[in-house]
């Protein structure tokens, strides 16, 4: 494509050539760990897909306790391609969170969080939290038995937090129990509040990444390395990977449509052997390890406190890891990272199999 007139028009108004130079100058290092650079891009791509399909589903979804469940069944059975877009949105969320975890542990083990990228780590970490809340709030919108049980447990667990637990629980539920008020509230979280926060955080994350450039693993920092231009070389590679992800996602959406359980009944017992989404399993299994009472104190509260401390420590790792900040090897934090990863994987598998 070559349009000199359009080029001139732009050049008179913006520094078009300058922008092109800038895009060409941006380089991406090439080395044996550069596969990890794609995980962030994949997550971004999945976020875009979630935004698009979510907007479409919002055309037909009715956030009301009496109609929510029915409206999803109608989307799936009556709208053109509704079954596909609902399934796609579901699998998009699963893959999105999976890639967020992969991106997180990749960043952790390669120590990409080290100085000067601490805030990059922090924005990404908060985005993971936001995404998990996205998953939980989106799941309740289905308003089936399993969703009701999951949100009851999750908000109830938050209620065990010392001092502020009661407030958090009341704020999340909007009523004493999980009711129609919780549904409208979670709808607001899911389609208005969380998307805005996500946009801001993703923008900040990308801006910081642009500012700092790609991190190179400590072990390779001293080596002479090759670099390729971001545009077009790396960008095209990104697009190819995205295409593969899109293919996988569409395949999952077509072959494994998520089920819709029976409509939630607040008075009925939860269905047998009910399990939360896979990314909550490690939490659930951890809470199971604690007895009901420890030294006369509520076991749940202690469990929640310890889990919160572990997550807070995880969040603050870039600030604790002083050796890697100085550019030295930091085996202690490699081990801490491996332990976190193994714990997460083991507990998820245990939760899945039990």
């Amino acid at each position: 494509m070559n349009c000199p007139k359009l080029k001139n028009w732009l050049e008179e108004r913006y520094d078009w050539e300058g922008m092109k130079r800038f895009a060409k100058r941006k380089l991406v290092p090439e080395h044996r760990y550069d596969l990890w650079y794609y995980t962030g891009g994949i997550t971004l791509f999945l976020f875009i897909l979630q935004f698009l399909t979510g907007m479409l589903l919002a055309f037909y979804y009715v956030p009301h306790i009496d109609f929510a469940h029915k409206s999803i069944i109608e989307i799936v059975t009556k709208q053109n391609l509704g079954w596909f877009f609902r399934s796609f949105h579901h699998w998009g969320s699963e893959l999105c969170i999976a890639f967020l975890f992969i991106h997180l542990f990749g960043t952790l083990l390669l120590k990409s969080y080290r100085k000067p990228r601490e805030f990059l780590w922090a924005t990404g970490f908060i985005l993971l939290g936001v995404s998990i809340f996205f998953g939980l709030s989106g799941y309740l919108l289905l308003w089936d038995e399993r969703a009701l049980a999951a949100v009851r447990v999750a908000t109830g667990g938050a209620g065990n937090f010392p001092f502020i637990g009661g407030f958090i629980k009341a704020f999340l539920r909007g009523s004493i129990d999980v009711t129609g008020d919780t549904l409208t509230r979670f709808y607001a979280f899911h389609v208005a509040i969380l998307p805005i926060i996500t946009l801001l955080l993703v923008g900040l994350h990308l801006l910081l990444m642009q500012y700092h450039g790609m991190s190179v693993p400590l072990s390779l920092e001293k080596e002479k390395r090759r670099e390729i231009p971001f545009f077009p070389n790396f960008f095209y590679k990104d697009l190819m990977v995205w295409l593969v992800v899109l293919g996988v996602l569409a395949t999952l959406a077509v072959l494994l449509p998520p089920e819709i359980g029976a409509k939630a009944d607040p008075l009925a017992p939860p269905p047998e052997n009910v399990k939360p989404e896979w990314y909550f399993l490690f939490l659930l299994e951890t809470l199971k390890l604690f007895p009901g009472a420890i030294l006369g104190l509520n076991g749940e509260t202690i469990a929640i406190l310890m889990v919160s401390c572990a997550i807070l420590f995880f969040f603050l790792i870039p600030f604790f890891d002083q050796r890697s900040a100085r550019g030295e090897k930091s085996p202690l934090f490699t081990w801490i990272g491996v332990i976190y990863l193994l714990y997460f994987l083991t507990m998820t598998v245990v939760g899945y199999l039990s």
């Binding site: 698009l52 479409l56 055309f59 037909y60 009556k78 709208q79 053109n80 391609l81 509704g82 877009f85």
Partner: protein, 156 residues
């Protein structure tokens, strides 16, 4: 016959191939999205079947509404006792029209449009008369149909 030179370069060929593939891919994706975004739009019915009893004791010079697909239909008994069925939607900007018995005219409040007893536009912006339907009676059923449409009732 063998050409000495290729008509297109390898680059043109590849660009067309990949460009075409990309175009097809995005066109497919876009059409799928649009298919979902535009629902199966409700089609205007060819006829509706009503209960005759509901309309028999209608007073002279008054109207009774009935659902015509997603919009309003008007069953209208004139002052002289003859009946007429119309689509109660103004031909100007699709507002619902109202019958004014004292003036024996139909009125659209949106832009001050008037139609006479037969649905003919007589004053204000409406460009066309109101659509008039055919009325048929079959036993207990009252069938209101578009003009010129063959009514085929489903066998019960």
């Amino acid at each position: 016959m063998k050409l000495k030179y290729s008509l297109i370069t390898r680059r043109t060929f590849l660009n067309t191939l990949f460009g075409g593939w990309l175009f097809a891919f995005f066109a497919g994706t876009f059409s799928a999205l649009m298919k979902f975004a535009f629902p199966t739009l409700g089609k205007e019915p060819d006829f509706v079947v009503l209960n005759r009893k509901d309309f028999t004791d209608l007073a002279n010079n008054s109207v009774k509404r009935f659902p015509w697909g997603g919009v309003v239909g008007l069953y209208f008994k004139k002052a002289d006792g003859s009946v007429l069925a119309l689509k109660g939607v103004c031909t100007h900007m699709e507002c619902n029209v109202a019958y004014k018995p004292e003036e024996r005219r139909f009125y659209c409040a949106c832009h001050n449009g008037w139609y006479d007893e037969n649905g003919k536009n007589i004053s204000g912006p409406p460009p066309k008369p109101l659509e008039v339907f055919t009325i048929m009676e079959e036993g207990e059923k009252l069938i209101i149909a578009k003009k010129g449409v063959k009514v085929e009732l489903p066998k019960a």
